[in-house]
């Protein structure tokens, strides 16, 4: 159950020596012997039959059969020999580090596409041509996330989403209807709380890490405006973020579950009546609860707000350091744009995901009916990319710190937003320079 982009940033445990930590990363990557790349490729030599050899990297997906599947796709490609490297461990970092050297991949996946610094640093190539007239068929919000200055920098492979899941029987028993606004949700959460069973689970940090985006969207804001400026310097946004504090103080949310929100066990083992979680937990929820569950978007703040769900996707990128950029682009296009049967297989045969091409959703057997079909509809209709491309890691860290102070310490949301804005503005200025 690790196949999802939301987890990509996690599980980094690592030990690095004090001082020179940064440099060590580069040095080790440069010295690494087993780069997964055949020596011949470095010299630009060709493989058997006059075909070039391309190296394609994936992170280690948790689902059984995924690795065999991508190897099968690669073997089916007629125009080049594609060597698949399955990278366990800290994928994001080792990939980012390898792009600094010429021992990196030709084609690689990256969570929500390349970072803005990779694009600005010229580490990845423009893939706009690969889309042709299929562009409008890809999930809007995800495509927007990988677009910078009208160029598309990654081909979305498969979509993951987060949404609110509830136990129908528990709501019925308490006489609670699926909430339509955030206030409804808080009221429902209180009503559903009895003793050690809590009303709502939004992560062990009370939603500080997970719900910043959904709360902004619920009030009609976003991290950044369409013109890439700070998007929520507004008292109404402060009100929305403050709702999470209200929820925290209601004593009705589950905190300290052994497995955090990305796992269905809090819901299936009866610790909570509602949970904000990922689509990938559906097989577990179905196994634990049968049909006793319903899905919904994160509710709107009030009548003038909007429902929302976060969506994310691994995007296939082509390294600018590749010896065979054109061949690599052709392969990425072949697999992630043209081969719809492989895309469908990859999205639905191993884990539980949504194809990134909207026209494939009706063909996905797993998404045909019931809660899964509703979820897929939400992703298309009210999906928001987790965070915009220009929302840099530094902005994100500062935002996370702010959310924690608002939710856990009761800091004043408007003051905190005012403190955050200059940090984000400076980052925006830096990446757009």
């Amino acid at each position: 159950m690790e196949q999802n982009v939301f987890r990509s940033q996690l599980n980094r445990r690592s030990l690095f020596a004090l001082g020179g930590a940064a440099a060590v990363t580069g040095a080790l990557a440069a010295c690494g012997g087993n780069t997964g790349r055949e020596t011949a490729t470095n010299g630009g030599a060709t493989g058997g039959g006059g075909k070039v050899t391309l190296n394609q990297w994936y992170h280690q997906y948790g689902e059984q059969g995924t690795q065999q599947a991508v190897e099968r796709y690669a073997a089916a490609y007629p125009n080049a020999t594609v060597k698949v490297s399955w990278k366990p461990g800290d994928y994001d970092q080792s990939t980012a580090a390898s792009l600094l050297t010429d021992a990196g991949p030709d084609v690689f996946e990256y969570g929500n596409g390349p970072t803005i610094d990779m694009i600005k640093g010229g580490q990845v190539v423009d893939l706009t041509d690969a889309f042709g007239d299929t562009k409008s068929d890809f999930n809007d919000s995800v495509l927007k996330r990988v677009t910078y200055q009208d160029k598309i920098w990654a081909i979305p492979q498969v979509i993951d989403m987060q949404l609110l899941v509830y136990r129908t029987s528990m709501l019925d028993k308490a006489g609670v209807k699926p909430p339509e606004t955030v206030d409804d949700l808080i009221a429902a959460s209180k009503k559903l709380t009895t003793g050690d069973v809590k009303g709502l689970f939004v992560g062990n940090d009370g939603g500080a890490g997970l719900l910043g985006g959904p709360m902004l969207w619920s009030a009609g804001f976003d991290y950044l405006t369409d013109d890439n400026e700070f998007g929520f310097d507004d008292p109404r946004a402060a009100t929305a973020l403050g709702k999470l504090r209200e929820l925290w103080q209601s004593k009705s949310i589950l905190l300290g579950a052994p497995k955090d929100w990305f796992d269905a066990s809090a819901l299936t083992s009866g610790l909570t009546a509602m949970q904000f979680t990922g689509l990938w937990t559906f097989p577990d929820i179905k196994k634990g609860l049968g049909d006793d569950f319903g899905v919904m978007a994160w509710p709107k703040l009030d009548a003038s707000g909007k429902d929302s769900v976060p969506v994310g996707a691994y995007g296939s990128c082509v390294s600018a350091k590749s010896q065979h950029v054109d061949e690599a682009k052709a392969f990425a296009k072949w697999l992630w744009v043209d081969q719809t049967s492989f895309q469908l297989d990859f999205a639905t045969a191993y884990g539980f995901h949504i194809p990134s091409r909207t026209s494939l959703i009706p063909k996905a057997a797993t998404l045909k009916a019931g809660q899964a079909a509703e979820a897929a509809k939400l992703a298309t209709e009210v999906g928001h990319a987790q965070s915009p491309l220009l929302w840099t890691p530094k902005s994100n860290t500062a935002f996370g710190d702010m959310m924690s102070r608002i939710v856990k310490d009761g800091a004043d949301p408007m003051t905190e937003i005012t403190k955050l804005k200059p940090i984000v503005d400076a980052e925006l200025k830096r990446v757009q320079a």
């Binding site: 970072t115 905190l255 860290t397």
Partner: protein, 287 residues
Amino acid sequence: MFVGPFVIGLIIFVYVPIVWSLYLSLFEAYNTVTPTTFVGFGNYADMLADPAFRQSLVTFLVFAAVIVPVTFVLSLTVALLVARTTFMQAFFRSVFFLPTACSYVVASLIWKMSIFSGIRSGLANAVLGWFGIDSIPWLSITEPPWYWLVIVTARLWLQIGFYMILFLAGIQRISPNLYEAAAIDGAQGWKVFRYITFPQLRATSTAVLLLLMINAFQAFDEFYNILSTFGTYPPYARPPLVYLYYTALGSGQDFGHGSAGAVILTLIIAIVALTQGRLLRLGRRDD
């Protein structure tokens, strides 16, 4: 000639990265280790002006102020008890030393998920339940800051055994003649410790204090594994290395600021270590 391979390794994996890091700290280096934009001491100024980085230094000081004396006293106490006991001495030594062999990561996960999970089935909450006390979400709340209890106990469990062994070695080097002389003079208990054992352990104590201090500075594993959730780390209890990890590595790849922070941290450790060594006269023999 025999040290050749070792020296080469040391140069490649220690000195070159350190020098490179110094070099990077003077440049704007996003997603590159061969930067071109020279910014002088700009990165240093940025880091020192960054409230989150300064806060991480304060966090470290708080952590060190607790963990250093507590570990020191507890490991010395355990060492004294183990040294005195004649009953199953080997067993007690091994038992206290065993946690040292445990990985910080593994211990952190056990602490986080089994002992201090927020639900009723967590060990700590189960115990509270016997007394009719509500479950406490140890790692979620900041008022009161229970997360310190989790972090400090994890580290104590992991490292007391190691320092106990250092003290034991020191204790065993003290000449029995001293104790015999003291016994003849009628000294016993606390007085023996106060006037013989403790002064005789001076060099050991100094070394232990220094190691504890540096270890505290390097705090990363248990903090990261206990408190991080999903690529984010809360703004509290965030020691310098964890903060730098998110700045320089993570998906940030901001090597300029990261290296500047690492250099600042290295300087602080060096200054603290030198001052401490000077004050406690490190390197003197036990005499």
